[in-house]
């Protein structure tokens, strides 16, 4: 429906772009893949279908000839136009980006260029900057440019074109900090997001089937025309560098869905025009699909070079940076060769799209199934953080086992700490099934490189804190973990069933301590109230910012099924009434339930404080806990060696 409307609109409201820019779209999408040359008759007919009159087309053709992009030739009385070598290179270059032939997995390293003062005059530098920006580089300062991809020969060609070869220093570097922040500094992401939003307003996820080939051709050319305009803005950043409000992937899947729906019909229409204009009645050969073109090869691990459907046996190496660096380099030639023959289809966007449709329809993913690398990486990151949090959550409570007031409390706290460590074991196994080795996760954690939930960075000052962790923090964990029973990765679901069952016991344990303190002496009551005051904001932080479902990559990729705000509302609704019931005040004066809208209003937590806690220097509590983990890890190494069989028996 949408497409014939648009086709009809074109006839009445005029073309979507100037004749000149539409000609470039036509050449890039249709003529260049067929060899770069087309008869004038076919071009004017095609442009007429797009709403451009023949006179305007001829005039625009003359301008492109004057600019050195096209050249005219004749055969008898028939005129033809062909793209000049310069234009062909540019069109092929653009095609990699237009048809999303860029690999999606990032190796975590930045390619940096420093422009030395020896790079030409001001005009030459400006031209080089435009070129770098078009290639996908972002600007950090006047001299410094960065890009997440290894652009290899394309970079060298661009530098040579502006006589900059030898005047530019190239580095490959890993940032010690937040890559997202760096990306946000170097690229104009807001502007780009607005562009994507506008594109998605026009093209939704469900392309209509065009009624005939002509309509398909018009819809396809208009689609490519609108799409390629982003490319001046879109650096094609990997998902892990994009803000959570990112729409690029959705825009890309909408583009691909619409392109697939119109490409074949479009070729059929063009072939008809080309045959009609050709003196011998032949149409030039073209690829079956522009989407299957040669992929741009970046640093890829062995997993991606594997044929689709193959079990990712080497995935472990792919995800551990140092250990895999050699492997990735060694396998690059393999990857390149496979890509050239078109069999590798590294994270083919169409396949990714089908995968997403399946998991949003309730399909569950098993470890041996094919999955897009972004899905694998997001799940590993999420699950590893979850497992880390179980360990780091056990430590604050562990500090209180010896100090717990009664034998029963000591025993139950010890049992709970054991449960939490047990959860970590179960959940690390799930992350391992996705290819991340446990030893690497644990070493990262105790070295202070692992990420874990904000609530486990705080000190436990009093027995009231143990009550708060058991009741409020575990309560928050139960709310979010229940939602994980609907996650798309099957081993994670099976493990979460057991974890959630055990958490209910922890919740009982927490509530029991809360009630004992609330009905105890004034000193006990005040101790509890003071602890609740301190834990309130960390728990509100715990759920994350209010990101709409459609902008949350964790929901898009089927890791989470509920928004942060839904979870926060659930938690408040379940736990705050219990606090009030026992006479404990909540520290936020704005906190109130509106029975009409059935929502809770509250004071927006200070998100800078959250950022400080999870990304800044480790808190004293965290530094101390990690220090003891390191000491104990070393001292208990003999246990580990017995379990793994890596021990030397002592002679009697």
């Amino acid at each position: 429906m949408g497409d014939d409307t648009r086709a009809a609109d074109t006839a009445t409201s005029g073309p979507v772009g100037s004749a000149r820019s539409l000609l470039l779209t036509l050449w890039g999408d249709v003529v260049a893949p067929s060899g770069g040359r087309a008869w004038l008759g076919a071009v004017t007919d095609a442009m007429r279908a797009l709403g451009v009159a023949p006179d305007a087309t001829r005039q625009a053709l003359r301008r492109l000839v004057a600019q050195g992009l096209l050249a005219a030739d004749r055969q008898g009385r028939l005129a033809a136009y062909h793209a000049t070598p310069v234009a062909m290179r540019r069109l092929e270059d653009a095609a990699d980006r237009i048809y999303l032939r860029r690999p999606l997995a990032w190796d975590g390293r930045w390619r940096m260029l420093r422009l030395t003062p020896a790079v030409g005059d001001a005009a030459a530098r400006a031209a080089l900057r435009r070129e770098l920006s078009w290639l996908g580089y972002g600007q950090l300062s006047a001299e410094l440019w960065i890009c997440p991809w290894d652009l290899g020969a394309r970079r060298d060609t661009a530098l040579a074109k502006h006589d900059a070869t030898g005047h530019v220093e190239a580095y490959t570097a890993a940032l010690e900090g937040d890559d997202r922040d760096l990306a946000a500094t170097a690229y104009e992401l807001d502007e780009l997001a607005a562009g994507h939003r506008a594109f998605l307003d026009t093209y939704d996820a469900h392309p209509p089937q065009p009624p005939d080939d002509r309509a398909a051709f018009v819809a396809r050319l208009e689609l490519v025309h609108r799409w390629r305009r982003f490319l001046f803005l879109d650096p094609g950043l990997p998902a892990e560098l994009l803000p959570s409000t990112w729409l690029g992937e959705r825009a890309a899947s909408a583009f691909l869905a619409h392109y697939r729906a119109t490409e074949a019909g479009g070729w059929a229409f063009w072939d008809t025009l080309a045959r009609a204009a050709d003196p011998d009645g032949h149409a030039p050969r073209h690829p079956v699909s522009n989407l299957d073109g040669p992929a741009l090869v970046a640093d890829r691990g062995p997993r991606v070079a594997a044929a689709p459907g193959e079990a990712p046996s080497d995935a472990a190496d792919d995800l551990t940076s140092e250990a895999s660096a050699g492997v990735a380099t060694a396998s690059r030639q393999v990857g390149a060769a496979r890509n050239r023959t078109g069999t590798a289809a590294a994270d083919d966007p169409g396949r990714t799209e089908e995968f997403l449709t399946r998991i949003h329809g309730g399909h569950k993913v098993e470890p041996a199934d094919w999955m897009p690398s972004t899905y694998r990486d997001l799940n590993v990151r999420f699950i590893e953080m979850h497992a880390n949090s179980e360990i780091m959550g056990a430590l604050p409570e562990r500090e209180w086992i010896a100090r717990a007031p009664t034998l029963l409390r000591k025993r139950s706290l010890a049992a709970k700490v054991q449960d939490e460590v047990g959860h970590a074991h179960l959940i690390y196994r799930v992350a391992e099934s996705l290819g991340r080795p446990r030893a690497a996760m644990y070493e990262d954690l105790i070295a202070g490189r692992g990420k874990f939930h904000n609530v486990f960075h705080y000190p436990t000052r009093s027995w009231g804190d143990v009550a708060c962790i058991g009741f409020l923090v575990d309560g928050a964990a139960i709310v979010t973990q229940r939602a994980l029973l609907e996650t798309s990765y099957a081993p994670y679901v099976r493990v979460m069933r057991r974890v959630v069952a055990e958490e209910s016991l922890h919740y009982r344990h927490g509530e029991d301590i809360m009630l004992a303190l609330a009905s105890g002496t004034d000193a006990q009551f005040e101790m509890l109230q003071e602890a609740v005051n301190r834990w309130w904001e960390p728990v509100m932080h715990f759920f994350g910012t209010n990101v709409p479902a459609e902008d949350d990559p964790m929901i898009h990729w089927g890791v989470k099924t509920r928004t942060n705000e839904q979870s926060r509302q659930d938690w408040i609704g379940q736990y705050v009434p219990k606090l009030w019931d026992m006479g404990i005040e909540t520290p936020d004066p704005a906190l109130a339930y509106d029975p009409g809208s059935k929502t809770w209003t509250y004071t927006e937590p200070d998100w800078d404080r959250l950022r400080q806690i999870v990304k800044g220097e480790p808190t004293e509590a965290t530094a101390t806990r990690l220090y003891w983990r390191q000491v104990l890890h070393r001292n208990h190494d003999w246990v580990h060696r017995i379990i793994t069989g890596d021990h030397v028996p002592v002679a009697a």
């Binding site: 009905s519 019931d581 006479g583």
Partner: protein, 114 residues
């Protein structure tokens, strides 16, 4: 001819459970026979076989016995919540904080508290 133990999953999110054993020449044959023997009526979505002599069973069942009271590890170890909540409410009233529980909360509108 070796014996194979058969394990199956009734639903994709259920754990693997032991369903029986069979004789077969090798694991491929065992998988085939297991399908015909145990899974021909949609009994499961997934199954596996393992040679019985590759399974190591608990030799000393007393390892599962607990010699001490472990109720603190179980939900049943925590009880009497109604009384405990009543006690907390009474304590809140005594401290002049009873009004907190009159605030609107989910479900309270039907009770007519205002």
């Amino acid at each position: 001819m070796p014996t194979y133990e058969v394990f199956g999953r009734r639903k994709w999110d259920a754990p693997m459970e032991h369903v029986g054993n069979l004789h077969a020449a090798d694991h491929r044959t065992a998988l085939l026979i297991a399908r015909e023997t145990h899974f021909r009526h949609q009994e499961g979505v997934d199954y596996a076989v393992v040679r019985s002599d590759h399974l190591h069973r608990l030799e000393d069942p007393s390892l599962l016995e607990r010699r001490t009271d472990i109720t603190y590890r179980l939900q049943t170890g925590y009880s009497g919540f109604r009384e405990k909540r009543e006690a907390a409410r009474a304590a809140a009233d005594a401290r002049g904080r009873g009004a907190l529980r009159d605030r609107p909360v989910p479900g309270s509108a039907t009770k007519g508290t205002a």
